[in-house]
Symmetry: C2
Subunit: 328 residues, 2 copies
């Protein structure tokens, strides 16, 4: 039988003593972008340049990286889905996991088409999904859990306006008819939307019917359905960790978006498990950053990325060790 995604991820985490996730977001020309010399042979086809960039980043970061997260938007933008497919295959060949950041969502029959593309054509190990549709739109992705695949839904995203909708306080009052759109309540408990979404995640992830496996919680304590919570929101991260102790949390927002290692502490359990922390720009384009640009040339962009990944791994590990939460 295929191992659960959560167990495969934990094996990589333990082996590499690292909970980082390296985003692979190729950007062409602009403030943060792949080196010009890789583009010298390029006409309108960016596949080769992006593939070469990713391959070298992966080779340099693999000792510290249990899981990679290519963001499909950039491959779509540059018409480079071939490079994406090759990148995912290469990550897996090297023994790490590939999480496709795609935030797909739709009604069931359409989500099934997306799931087919993500898991059968691109062959990712896991995917991010927006679960605004409820279980119907997530189920087609969860149907791949028995094959070792994972799903990460959005809870509290890292962007500044995430509170506009996600922070609304919501009540779950199933006895109210669907026809009622507005009414008065007294003395009821309300929780924010992102907590409701976390509760749905918890409920779905522990159901053998939904997860299609007899024991949705693996021997290390985690299911194959997780959630996204931005490093930029540490208080909310703590609340979600408490709500859902058996769900992995993908924490974006470290680095370029301003999240710090201390912000991660609330995302893991006492053993140090339960979160993966992702960074994209700060690793991919480390060769351009003030921290690394004096140390590495443009030609050594991959070595800069490797050093940045190692430093990020160590930075987070140190913060968790100081908090007494590193027993991997």
């Amino acid at each position: 039988m295929t191992s659960l995604f959560s167990e495969r991820l934990i094996a990589q985490i333990k082996q590499k003593q690292s909970i980082i996730c390296v985003g692979l977001d190729p950007r062409i020309r602009g403030k943060s972008s792949i080196p010009e010399f890789l583009l010298s042979q390029v006409n309108d086809n960016y596949n080769d340049a992006i593939w070469e960039f990713n391959r070298r980043i992966i080779d340099a970061t693999i000792p510290f990286t249990p899981i990679y997260k290519p963001q499909i938007a950039f491959y779509e933008k540059y018409n480079a889905l071939d490079a994406l497919k090759k990148t995912i295959a290469y990550i897996r060949e090297k023994g790490a996991l590939a999480l496709l950041d795609a935030k797909r969502n739709d009604i069931g029959s359409t989500s099934a088409a997306y799931a087919h593309n993500v898991f059968e054509f691109l062959e990712a190990d896991a995917v991010t999904v927006n679960s605004y549709f409820g279980i119907d739109g997530v189920q087609p992705f969860l149907n791949y859990v028995p094959k070792g695949k994972g799903v990460i839904i959005l809870l509290k995203t890292s962007n500044p306006s995430s509170g506009e909708f996600q922070d609304l306080f919501a009540l779950d009052l199933p006895e109210i008819s669907a026809d009622i759109t507005e009414f008065q309540v007294k003395n009821v408990t309300v929780v924010r939307n992102f907590i409701h979404m976390a509760r749905l995640m918890k409920k779905w992830s522990q159901s053998p019917t939904i997860m299609h496996v007899e024991q949705p919680i693996g021997k290390n304590g985690f299911t194959s359905l997780g959630g996204v919570v931005g490093a930029t929101y540490p208080t909310q991260l703590k609340a979600i960790r408490a709500e859902a102790p058996h769900n992995f949390i993908l924490i974006p927002g470290y680095g370029a978006q301003g999240g710090k290692a201390e912000d991660i502490i609330q995302g893991v359990n006492d053993q140090g498990l339960g979160a993966i922390v992702s960074a994209s720009r700060s690793i991919n384009f480390a060769y351009q950053s003030s921290t690394y640009k004096n140390q590495f040339s443009e030609e050594d962009f991959d070595k800069a990325a490797g050093q940045a990944a190692k430093d990020m791994r160590d930075d987070i590990r140190t913060a968790l060790e100081s908090a007494g939460k590193w027993k991997l």
Copy 2:
């Protein structure tokens, strides 16, 4: 100056005396699928078969169809993004509008990459977006409003489990600190999540700063930001129409999902404007349906689609006329 998306859409609606939107969701082999004879030359490349299918469907339905809605999931599934690009170009060449159903969503810098792909590479006229991220994730798409592009966000989706999250009753209490995740309230007004999303849509769509146009509401009374409300939820449709009189509503769920013409009535204003009603399977694969299969052969799949589109146009028009809401 380029006309607003809403004005371009209304011009097509008036010209064709139709508020239907034909989905273009190619499915290969299965219960509802494109004719086998189109696949005879196919090896692993479905681009030609899908393009031929779409081209013939468009030719047959164009007299009744102001706007088409290709669902990108199916083109991704069959690795047929070339067929998608050609299809969008063909729709526009024929004078109709192309709404890409993609439900994209992410933080701002990533949404900008998606928006580039949708509007600059694929050259769609409009796109569906999931606005769980708040304005940050929608703004990069709205930046194209001055170029005549439109954006449709998800409010109340057509699927059975849409209520699981969208129907929760939510409070907007901005004075409450972000640190508070749970508390008690007395005598406050609460509205469902999908109504909150509709209120955000209304607010965003009337802001010249967000929409980047001085007059976001066009001369016919509508903005270029709309919302999705399933035909399967007519009561909710009525509530959203009342909340947001200047926003177009995309109503999926007619046909295969069970929505009826009578369910649409609440979606339009007294003039008959404000909604487009989409159907995919019931038009695309009309040649296989009990209604049309005795009348049309597999070779005439396009004629079946043309008849189904005309019947749908007339069915909705009759229902709106009976309700005194057809003054186009």
